[in-house]
């Protein structure tokens, strides 16, 4: 039953994703991509759970490595997106809103 429930969530989230992104101006393609990439670092939640559970030494190490990779992805992804977006400006309009 859980498999069905999770698959439902998956289906709805994919449709939502298509709806959200369908009309993005080309100007924002790169920030959108790197911003979305930072969100995919959500796998850090799974990494934290594996690393902290202490079920098995090997699983803890795998989880720890996952935490490291995922935090590179999350921290780097959000910062670099912000850095790019800070550069976008309208004509005569100072920095980005």
């Amino acid at each position: 039953m859980e498999a069905v429930f999770l698959s439902f969530i998956l289906m709805l989230a994919i449709f939502l994703g298509f709806e959200l992104i369908s009309k993005v101006p080309a100007t924002l393609h790169t920030p959108l991509m790197s911003g979305a990439n930072a969100i995919s670092g959500i796998t850090i939640v799974g990494a934290l759970l594996s690393a902290g559970a202490q079920h098995d030494a090997m699983a803890t190490w795998l989880g720890g490595a996952a935490v490291m990779f995922a935090s590179i992805n999350v921290v780097g992804g959000y910062l670099v997106t912000d850095r790019m977006l800070a550069m976008f400006r309208k004509k005569d309009g100072g920095g980005a809103a």
């Binding site: 994919i14 992104i21 979305a36 959500i42 934290l48 995922a70």
Partner: protein
């Protein structure tokens, strides 16, 4: 202190809402920056409540690994040059994929804890999927990085029998997944075969893709990194991973689709065929008409509308700042200046937009292909800077050209076209460009940055 699963799941819902609003706001230049902040807030909430979960017994490891990762990520994000953004995005993508792979791998150990009973086939398949997708994302992104940073050749690497090898790898992956699910064991040979083949598949998937097709691959890998997180979410039964992962997966697929449309090719065609292998374009004959900076200046000085068409060559020459300077001088001189951006110009989606934004060009001066084309016949001068295929009229006229049917920026319709080019070599796709021989085309040979600086000096002179 630890939070109950109900509280944690409610916090995940809030995080999901923040991701959704964040992505929505990333769709408009005015709200994009706040959207990114919202989305990072969602991430922070998800991480903090997870740390307070009852399942987490020890923090020491976690803190050390998280700090190492955060420092690496922050330094990379601060220090990277804007021109190196495509390879940076590829690396971040790859680390996300690697993390999902490791989460799936670690989840395998949870299946064999005392008192767990036999692991379900569903969970095992999702573990295999997170290792497969995560592995392809990680090694594929690494190769993409190598190509973009030009650590390795950026051209397509093709060899005979490539399809057969790839088919065998796919069969091997399916076979080892089936064997692994039927007889799940930690450290089983089938597991290692699966892991190894997933990494090999990532390499094999990216090496045949040439430099000009990179925007498609980057956005596809971006999509995979989301799907990998999604698969890891299934493996550990965690909602927020599934929701956030599939949002990213869908977003990446849409971008990939936009990129493919901009090249008039199917995704399968980009991924599986070496470019230009099928047809030979009609040879282009004619005489190129070179021009020197002094004469180009005289034409520009008299122009009342100028359109810049940047391509990857502008990034290579780091010419974006001088281009902006020239643009401002032309405006001061009374000309209407705009920048025409082809969707696949450069090496990642939106590459040119980021570079021009870095050089302080306002985004309302950047015009998309479909909007600039009707204006080009009334444009005095179109200046092509390091772009080739995206302005190649053969795509419109020559049915035998490998890029026939690709939508292009019709610079050849402008009254005068300046093409800034190092020499007469053909573009990345290796296709001859009749634009260079056009009646109204003038070739300004040399380094783009130097040529533009020369023009700037003349205007100031």
């Amino acid at each position: 202190m630890s939070l109950s699963p109900v509280v944690i799941n409610f916090a995940y819902i809030i995080a999901a809402i923040l991701f959704i609003f964040g992505l929505k706001m990333l769709g408009s230049p005015a709200t994009a920056r706040r959207g990114n902040v919202l989305s990072s807030l969602g991430m922070l909430i998800a991480i903090v409540v997870t740390l307070f979960s009852q399942a987490i017994l020890s923090f020491e490891y976690i803190i050390i690994f998280a700090v190492i990762g955060a420092v690496i990520g922050a330094l990379a994000a601060r220090l990277v040059a804007m021109t190196s953004m495509p390879e940076m995005v590829a690396l971040f993508n790859g680390s996300g994929g690697a993390a999902s792979l490791l989460v799936g791998w670690a989840a395998l150990y949870d299946q064999f804890l005392p008192g767990m009973g036999d692991p379900s086939a569903f969970v095992l398949v999702t573990i295999a999927l997170s290792i497969l997708i995560g592995g392809v994302t990680a090694s594929g992104s690494l190769i993409a990085y190598g190509k973009l940073a030009e650590v390795m050749t950026s051209g397509a690497i093709v060899f005979s029998g490539q399809r057969i090898v790839n088919s065998l790898i796919l069969l091997g992956i399916i076979g080892s997944t089936v064997m692994f699910v039927m007889d799940p064991q930690i450290g089983s040979t089938w597991f290692w075969i699966l892991l190894g083949l997933a990494l090999v598949l990532g390499v094999m998937a990216v090496i045949p893709i040439g430099g000009a097709d990179m925007p498609v691959v980057i956005s596809l890998l971006n999509s995979y990194s989301g799907l990998a997180a999604c698969a890891a979410g299934f493996a550990i039964g965690n909602n927020i991973l599934i929701v956030a992962g599939s949002l990213v997966g869908a977003a990446g697929l849409i971008l990939t689709n936009i990129m493919c449309k901009a090249m008039n090719r199917s995704l399968a065609n980009v991924l599986f065929s070496g470019f230009g292998a099928v047809k030979t374009a009609s040879a282009v004959e004619g005489e190129v008409k070179p021009i020197v900076v002094d004469d180009a200046y005289l034409i520009l000085e008299a122009a009342s509308s100028v359109v810049f068409v940047p391509g990857y060559g502008m990034a290579v020459a780091q010419a974006q700042h001088v281009v902006r300077e020239l643009g401002e001088l032309l405006e001061k001189n009374g000309a209407e200046v705009s920048y025409a951006i082809h969707p696949v110009a450069g090496r990642m989606p939106g590459h040119m937009n980021v570079l021009l934004a870095e050089a302080n060009v306002p985004y309302d001066q950047l015009v998309e292909m479909d909007d600039i084309n009707p204006r080009l016949p009334n444009t005095d001068v179109a200046i092509v800077i390091g772009a080739n295929d995206v302005v190649n009229p053969a795509a419109r006229e020559d049915e035998n050209s490998p890029i026939y049917g690709m939508p292009i920026i019709n610079v050849d319709k402008a009254r005068t076209v300046f093409v800034l080019k190092r020499s007469m070599a053909s573009g990345f796709s290796g296709v001859d460009n009749p634009l260079f021989f056009g009646e109204n085309t003038r070739m300004l040979f040399g380094d783009a940055k130097q040529s533009i600086s020369g023009l700037v000096a003349e205007f100031k002179g």
